[in-house]
């Protein structure tokens, strides 16, 4: 069973993607329309007549203004995205640290995974170092092989195999690991519990989790489940990976993440590009998304045919039919982003999304116009990132002599790394590895705080000096 559990992480790797409207052409079209609605743009245009004549001039101005508007938007929404990702990452880390601090099961050494066969209880330091390097090498090669296998399966459209794999892994996580977790929590707090109640709880938890993650469900619930399974996975890693091996694996995996996402032949980059070519979403079971994803399988529906079908229908029906999907997306503007509203206005003329219009629309038969990208403004973070961040912070809290200081320092370091990564994402606008910067900061701060700051703060606290 530990085999299957380890299958999960190697394809939940750090990748960060941001969904801008995929079609560059549609982007510029929207922007040129947006220009007419935007007053400041009109001020920048010296002569308003250039809108009607002088086409080349127009296009040039459009291109420049595109870039400026893009930057504006990225900065405006960038801060929001950062917060949207801070909260789940923080929650995951908090859950892991709380569990480590209270439940002793996860800090007890009960053997190792078969992926790390070499023990670290050796006589000499050199032997220990060698063993941990070998362990890390084995683990990383397993991860690489699994990732390549996943990419190959995806390329050759063996969706059934991938889905079966994912379903088995999430079944294992949701039922078995949470059963163990619940059992250990009960043991820690000495709570008496009967099997029937536990069976009921775990059954409900697992089934709702499977539905939320693999099919449809409320966004918050899906996010909560993804956080929970990341935390469970991270706890497994913390328990079963010996010390030096864990740190080495963290370091090597951030290097691997960098290579896999940025090199042209990297498996993760190929995965993301193939998904974008086919205009599909990546598997929802592997990615945390901050906005609504309605689709699990876009491969069955032909997006092109749908777009043509939608254009043939009457205009007023087209945009309102999109409304039911986007209603859950964000709570502002009645569920529509500013960009989306402007796009809609430009296509069909201004329509206000009032409760009456929404009610009228919901009475219409909904044709599944799901090909219009529902996740316009969301930021996505791979679950592997959550897991490895939590592993770092969890290991820091479990094994550091500086205890809470070290934990806090690693936490801040990881969040700042995430900030920087999101900044780079806003600048480069393509899938980026989320692990390297954060893990590097985290590791540096862990070792520095544990060895340097800890004695200093101890001495200061002893004498009650304050800095």
């Amino acid at each position: 069973m530990t085999e299957l559990s380890a299958h999960l992480p190697q394809f939940q790797h750090g990748q960060l993607t941001e969904n801008f409207p995929d079609n560059h052409l549609s982007n510029t079209n929207d922007n040129s329309e947006r220009r007419r609605h935007d007053n400041s743009e009109r001020r920048r245009n010296d002569n308003p007549e250039s809108e009607t004549n002088g086409q080349p001039q127009n296009i040039q101005q459009v291109v420049e203004q595109d870039e400026e508007e893009d930057e504006e938007l990225t900065l405006k929404y960038g801060a929001k995205h950062v917060i949207m990702l801070f909260v789940p990452v923080t929650l995951c880390m908090v859950v892991v640290v709380a569990t480590i601090k209270s439940v002793s099961f996860y800090t007890r050494k009960d053997g190792q995974l078969i992926y790390t066969p070499f023990t670290e209880e050796t006589e000499t330091v050199g032997q220990r170092a060698l063993n941990s390097i070998l362990n890390a090498a084995i683990m990383i090669s397993v991860i690489i092989v699994m990732t390549i296998l996943l990419v190959v399966l995806y390329k050759y459209r063996c969706y059934k195999v991938i889905h079966g794999w994912l379903i088995i892994s999430s079944l294992l996580l949701l039922f078995f690991f949470s059963f163990i977790y619940l059992g250990e929590v009960f043991k820690t707090y000495n709570v008496a519990m009967d099997y029937i109640t536990v069976a009921l709880i775990i059954w409900n938890f697992g089934v709702v989790g499977m539905i939320c993650i693999h099919w449809k469900g409320p966004l918050r619930l899906q996010q909560a489940y993804l956080i929970m399974i990341s935390a469970l996975m991270a706890l497994v890693f913390i328990k079963y990976l010996p010390e030096w091996t864990a740190w080495l694996i963290l370091a090597v995996i951030s290097v691997y993440d960098l290579i896999a996402v940025l090199c042209p032949k990297g498996p993760l980059r190929m995965l993301v590009e193939t998904a974008q070519e086919r205009n599909e979403t990546l598997f929802p079971a592997l990615i945390y998304s901050s906005t609504m994803i309605w689709l699990v399988n876009m491969a069955e529906e032909d997006p092109e045919a749908q777009r043509k079908a939608s254009k043939s229908s009457t205009y007023p029906k087209q945009a309102p039919a999109n409304q039911p999907q986007n209603e859950d997306a964000e709570a502002d503007d009645g569920g529509f982003s500013q960009e989306w509203q402007q796009q809609r206005d430009n296509r069909i003329g201004p329509i206000e999304s009032t409760p009456e219009s929404r009610a009228a629309v919901q009475a219409l038969p909904s044709n599944s116009q799901t090909s219009e990208d529902p996740e316009e403004r969301g930021v996505k973070l791979g679950l592997g990132d959550f897991i490895f961040y939590s592993v770092l912070v969890g290991k820091a809290s479990a094994t550091a002599s500086g205890d809470w200081n070290t934990t806090l320092a690693c936490f801040v370091a990881i969040l700042i790394g995430l900030c920087l990564t999101l900044l780079l994402l806003a600048i480069f606008k393509k899938a980026l590895p989320a692990l390297p910067i954060s893990i590097t900061f985290g590791l540096v701060f862990y070792f520095a705080t544990d060895n340097l700051v800890q004695p200093f703060m101890d001495q200061l606290a002893f004498h009650q000096f304050y800095i």
Binding site: S40, E68, E71, E72, L75, G402, D403, W404, N405, L408, A409, V412, A413, I416, F445, A448, T449, N451, L452, V453, P455, F456, M457, Q459, L460, A461, H463, Q464, F465, Y466, I467
Partner: protein, 209 residues
């Protein structure tokens, strides 16, 4: 918070090197080294506050250049406040959190002859430091904005004074009282610099619209 952490890291690195290079059995020397470490850390913290100011300045310029109406959505005063709070919270967290964790467990305070008010005074001292960091942030940034070097020097001197006063511990009256007085002064000064006045204060307290 991150910048404060980095400054703490560097200062403890220096201290660590100094300690390792010296004789561990020599008590007064160790204490002297600790004092040196504290002073150095204070200076480093202020240096990092300055660096953070530079970074925020650049960020504001970027925001202004890209905004539609020529002013940035967040002002430098707000940033000063946030920076101060970040510094303060981080410093407070690092000072208190291990104490709090230990306080959860069983034990007797001061059983070996130390002061029984250890936890209480630590809590008060931490609180005053957090407040002070917030006010110093506002003062410091204001001084940098308007090129008033004496304000910056005042912040540095105040910080050194507060840290220095803690060397009197466990004679708590020597450290807590001056720190609180300095905090009141810094609070009033920061309030005046942020545009407040006695009139504003009175209106606020009497809940006039």
């Amino acid at each position: 918070a991150f910048f404060w952490l980095v400054s703490l890291l560097l200062s403890s690195l220096i201290w660590f090197i100094a300690v390792k290079a010296s004789d561990p059995r020599d008590e007064p020397l160790q204490k002297g080294l600790l004092i040196f470490g504290v002073m150095f850390s204070v200076l480093l913290q202020e240096a990092f506050r300055f660096l953070y100011y530079k970074l925020l300045r650049k960020a504001i310029e970027g925001l202004v250049a890209l905004s539609e109406d020529g002013c940035s959505p967040i002002s430098i005063q707000q940033m000063a406040y946030v920076a101060g709070v970040g510094f303060g919270l981080m410093s407070g967290a690092f000072s208190m959190i291990n104490l709090l964790a230990d306080a959860l467990g069983p034990g007797t305070v001061g059983i070996h002859g130390d002061s029984q008010l250890y936890f209480l005074t630590s809590a008060f001292m931490t609180m005053v430091l957090i407040f002070l960091h917030t006010f110093w942030g506002i003062l410091f940034f204001h001084g940098c904005e308007h090129q008033r070097w004496w304000e910056i020097m005042a912040v540095v001197v105040m910080h050194l004074a507060v840290s220095g006063s803690t060397f009197c511990n466990p004679l708590y009256v020597g450290s807590l009282v001056p720190s609180y007085l300095l905090m009141a002064a810094a609070a009033a000064w920061a309030y005046l610099l942020s545009g407040g006045s006695a009139h504003n204060l009175r209106r606020f307290l009497l809940c006039k619209s």
